[in-house]
């Protein structure tokens, strides 16, 4: 049973971490342009701008 004392906090911590990551992404406008994000990976960065 003592294993629970370690695993449950770890699980909760990791869950909260991903929740925080999602909120950070939401705050920094990463869901503003989903179509654009999908297409941007096709752009060649090598071309001179």
């Amino acid at each position: 049973m003592s294993s629970l004392g370690i695993t449950i906090p770890i699980a909760l911590f990791m869950g909260l971490l991903s929740l925080a990551a999602f909120f950070w992404a939401l705050r920094s406008d990463q869901f503003e342009d989903l179509d654009g994000a999908a297409n941007r990976i096709l752009l060649d960065d090598d071309e001179a701008i």
Binding site: M1, L4, A11, F22, L26, E32, D33, G36, N39, R40
Partner: protein, 705 residues
Amino acid sequence: MATVPAIDPKTIETVLIVPAMHCAGCMAKVERGLAGVSGVASARVNLSARQVRIAHDPALLAVDLVEALDCLGFSSQPRGDQFAPAVSAVRPLLPALAVAGFAAMNVMLLSVGIWSGADGATRELFHWISALIGVPAIAFSGRPFFVSAWSALRRGRTNMDVPISIGVVLATGLSLYETAIGGHVAWFDGTLMLLLFLLAGRTLDAAMRDRARAGVDALVRQAATGAMIVGKQGELAWVPANALLPGMTMRVAAGERLAADGAIVRGSSRFDRSLLTGESAPILVGEGGLVHAGTLNLEAPVDVAVSAAGGDSALAEIARLMEAAGQARSTYVRIADRASRYYAPAVHTLAFASFVGWMIAGAGLHQSLVIAIAVLIITCPCALGLAVPVAQVIASGALMRVGVMVKDGSGIERLAKIDRALLDKTGTLTLGRPVPDAAALAALPDEVASVALALASHSRHPLSRALAAALSAAGHRAAVLDDVRETPGQGVAARWQGLQVALRRPDAGAGMATALDITGQPVRLIAFADRLRPDTLPALAELAALGIEASIISGDSGTAVAEVARATNLFGQSSASPTDKVEAIATRQRGGHKVLMVGDGLNDGPALAAAHASIAPGTASDVGRQAADIVFLGDSLIAVPRAVRAARRTMRIVRQNFALAIGYNALAVPLAVMGFITPLLAAVAMSTSSLIVIGNSLRLVRAAR
């Protein structure tokens, strides 16, 4: 590109709408092209909204940026206030959904431990941890429901959110009590999962509305949202439409739309009034003649003294008519709300009755409460809440892939019921723009065609543009010309291989035409006419097969309507004013019919707002697009029967979903009333019914085919 450089405090921001951007290539062209313009600090495209946000030197005007984009091959216009991004409906729901998802998963894990036999201190510990996660999460994620339920209750009404809120609050309270006294069951898992599913349904519904609105806003065509104003000393300045004042003089170039009503003070030209009145033949207006906002200047630049702008113009009159016409439709009640009107009281009564029943049977306050909550949770409209939005989102996604944009879910519901269709002529049954006579073009020798294309490409006149588009589409290449001159109102002239060539207005003749003049060769006349949209006849045949009786209603003259009526084999009403159109719809609706209006012009606006459902082509006026429930892209009219068929299929699936959800309740509720439902059973039953509803709705993926 990913990191945004520190924004220079000396730059200002301009947002341009670029409707034609649709792929990675366009995005790169626009961003890199703008970055190359001197004075531009940065440019970033938002592809979903079809906009580009440019940080630039204040000395650089929006007009310059539009020009720069024009050179890149993209037409654009500054975003007016009316196109500022509407408040997203999804955004406030996302945090709630994320928290509910996180909490539901973790609590469910602990619950699995309890169900598989955790006992004594372990169970108590698990319950406490669940409470620790669950209570704040429920308070946070449940807010959209609590707020809506509270505002309904305060006005003495009830809605779907009332039973949800009561169920959630009671279940949470009882679970806390159970946890505190070290009881056997807690409902945190079921409550959180309920919130998760319901929020998912809400988010989908909101996402559909957001996406459709972004699509419609992106469709802005080059309607004049301002005018070039000539000052007293002859200085030119661009003034936005809402800042135009009577007495100003605006210079309207050929191919531009008027931003305000007025009288011509210099020059004369032909004007296309089809957007305003439905009349297809352009009219000649000379000095002193009156011209209206929304009409298109076809021939030569003119100076117009503004007589009425904004709220006083002919446009505003149509807007007032529309407002009055739209009131009938606002009484439409969506199917989910109609269902909840019966559902909510039934659920409350049932839960209360089982509480009273068990009290009378002598079960004790605590057990009776547990059973009543089980009834509330098991009947909570999880599947019902998903039944409508999931089906509508999937159907509208399928429609969007074929270029039909649904502005909101109630449009699908209303479209499914129609049995009469009224179609506007100019711009709806026809393309609403001049198309060169195909036979005349085919008769041109290759060399001559390439000269014509070269000449046409040098002019922004609507006829030239139409000619250039048709010739390029036919695979011709532009010839090399020297010494190109454009004379406004006359045409384009140039030298080609030593010969004088010109594309000019014909010497005589009333119809729309252009004359191609090459020295030493007879003058060739190319006639232009408005043509029926492609697939018009198959589309009308399909409407008839769907049991929808179609007819034409147009503001155009009798002969023009009769011609189209003959070609399409429909009954037609001509010379209809906007009020006549609304009246025609009202007459049919009083007869018990549900009318679909398909139209594009400003004059169709009131009719689009008054009809049970309405569809507008993507080339429609702003007013038309805003009033319509559904906007289709591309030229083909086949989109109309396609949308109707998809709407009917969607509503069939929605009814099946309701049957499934209610059927599940009919099975589960007796068990809950008898007190046999455990938290495990509730959780399993709830997810299965939701998954079945989602699975059934997924069959709509191919609904638009």
